[in-house]
């Protein structure tokens, strides 16, 4: 339960960083700009595509409905 809470805390942290990126664009990048930095290189673009494909298969092919 504690670690599940940590995952949600990470999600909230991401939202806060994004908000900071909007409020102080000179100091903190938004997610969009951070991803753009990765897209700077062709290898970065390829990694992002592979990540997107992996997420698709991982979430929508291999999902298991948890037993409560």
């Amino acid at each position: 339960m504690l670690v599940t809470g940590m995952w949600f805390a990470f999600l909230v942290a991401g939202a806060l960083i994004e908000a900071l990126g909007w409020l102080r664009p000179n100091r903190v990048s938004t997610l969009h700009r951070a991803v753009a930095k990765i897209e700077d290189r062709i290898a970065g673009r390829a990694v992002l595509i592979l990540l997107w494909v992996f997420i698709g298969f991982h979430l929508f092919v291999r999902y298991t409905v948890p037993h409560s």
Partner: protein
């Protein structure tokens, strides 16, 4: 505007069908593989992976030129924390209830079909953005 509504409708329908496929079935593999294949083919055709493609090489540096590496440090720190926690979860077998991996946690969000449909729609939308961006750039550059 009409095109956007049609596209959203098609994507929502596709996401609903994908969300209804049984996990690990041939159908689920095909339903996920199809948009992946379409995305990669269109992305490559638009020059997304071409080193010499003028649209990409001009577009990307302009966007990142004023982004200092230090400004993405919070995202790197967050990513490192996610990877560390995921690694601990995987070391404990991946199905630990005390230290669940991200996948195990997300599985709870995938229990209901409409939730899977929403996530699938989000996934398809994220995949569509780079294609739209590249297409827009090519249109802008065309005389």
């Amino acid at each position: 505007m009409k095109g956007v509504i049609v596209a959203v409708g098609i994507m929502t329908g596709y996401a609903w069908v994908t969300a209804g496929a049984a996990p690990f079935s041939t159908l689920s593999y095909l339903l996920v593989a199809a948009p992946c294949l379409v995305f990669v083919v269109v992305y490559v055709r638009l020059g997304g992976l071409s080193v010499t493609h003028v649209e990409v090489s001009e577009y990307v540096p302009r966007k990142v030129r004023e982004v200092p590496l230090s400004s993405i440090a919070p995202w790197i720190a967050l990513l490192a924390a996610v990877v560390a926690l995921e690694a601990v979860g995987l070391l404990l077998g991946g199905r630990s209830t005390s230290v669940p991996t991200l996948s195990t946690t997300v599985d709870h969000l995938l229990a209901v079909r409409w939730e899977r449909c929403l996530l699938c729609l989000a996934w398809l939308t994220v995949g569509g953005f780079p294609l739209l961006g590249l297409r827009r750039l090519i249109r802008v550059r065309e005389p």
